[in-house]
């Protein structure tokens, strides 16, 4: 079933048609929520909430757009609501790192070190850098997802990369 057909059925009150959208996008959504929240349990709750909000909001969905970028805005609102409503957790269990796929191009130690460095960033910074590098979004796509002007994307990206570069240098991280 195509997304648009599923959305049309959902608007008619068919909750089963929503299964198509959940099944198709839940993995991606959980991965993005983990990037923002840095915590799996909160991410699962936020994604669940986001899908429920999306179901209610489908009446306002513009059929000329793709579903996931539209849904992403709802998802990140839910994530930041969760982030605001909880105390920052200590990231003491990074052996079970969850943002980066393992094994990747790095050794397990390097991968954990990189993940730890990512976890030291703020939610907004981590969201931006992972969307750019792990999902390969362009500046325009980032501007749409984050609902900020393109110039802001560029400037934030510059700052967060600088921060990462300095941190990696402190850690003597050498991934050559």
């Amino acid at each position: 079933m195509e997304d648009l057909a599923a959305i049309r059925k959902c608007r008619e009150g068919d909750t089963d048609a929503f299964h198509h959208l959940v099944r198709r996008y839940q993995g991606q959504a959980i991965a993005h929520a983990i990037s923002i929240l840095g915590n799996r349990e909160d991410a699962l709750d936020a994604v669940q909430e986001a899908f429920l909000n999306a179901f209610q909001a489908l009446k306002r969905f513009d059929g000329s757009r793709r579903f996931y970028p539209w849904f992403y805005v709802i998802l990140r609102n839910c994530c930041y609501k969760y982030a605001a409503g909880r105390k920052r957790r200590e990231t003491d269990d990074l052996e079970s790192a969850e943002i980066l796929l393992q094994p990747g191009s790095l050794s397990p130690e390097e991968s954990i070190s990189l993940e730890r460095t990512l976890m030291e960033l703020s939610s907004e910074e981590r969201e931006l850098i992972t969307l750019r590098h792990l999902d390969g979004l362009s500046y325009e796509e980032l501007a749409e997802r984050l609902e900020v002007p393109r110039g802001t994307v560029m400037s934030r990206l510059y700052n967060v990369r600088n921060k990462l570069r300095k941190r990696m240098a402190q850690l003597n991280f050498n991934a050559d």
Binding site: V22, I30, L44, L52, I99, L101, G104, T130, S155
Partner: protein, 145 residues
């Protein structure tokens, strides 16, 4: 044109590396890089960082949230149905009061079926609301906003 400052050149280099068209002429950037060792070093480090990050892949969890989402959608649907019937129990009380008044009418033969009317009304209402009157709610749930 004023002499470009290091940060502007570094921003331009970053944008160029991300596939954006630089707003500064390339020869100006090259000239600055040739004369600024710090910008050259930073540009190399930045390239290394970008290629390291680009080589990473995102972990995609395989959790299935559908059963939980489905359950909550159903709960919301049933909640909406309840909201659609205003004051259902007031309706029940009204129907029973009417029945009682009717029952008080003198010189009227009351048959068995007529006596069952209040029970039928109550059962129908609970069936319509899909509510079990004998259910004990062990998880106290408040209506979500």
């Amino acid at each position: 044109m004023p002499e470009p400052i290091c940060e502007s050149v570094r921003r331009e280099l970053m944008a160029g590396g991300d596939g954006q068209t630089p707003s500064m002429p390339p020869e100006v950037i090259d000239a600055h890089l040739a004369s600024c060792a710090e910008c050259r070093a930073e540009s190399v480090e930045m390239e290394r960082l970008n290629s390291l990050l680009d080589s990473q892949r995102r972990q995609v969890p395989t959790d299935d949230l559908w059963p939980l989402i489905r359950q909550r959608l159903d709960a919301e649907k049933s909640m909406a149905r309840k909201r659609a019937v205003p004051y259902p129990f007031l309706l029940l009380a009204g129907s029973l009061a009417v029945y009682k008044l009717f029952e008080l009418v003198p010189d009227r033969r009351i048959e068995l079926f007529f006596k069952l009317v209040p029970v039928i009304i109550a059962i129908s209402l609970f069936a319509f609301l899909r509510e079990n009157p004998f259910k004990v709610n062990v998880h106290l749930e408040t209506e979500r906003e």
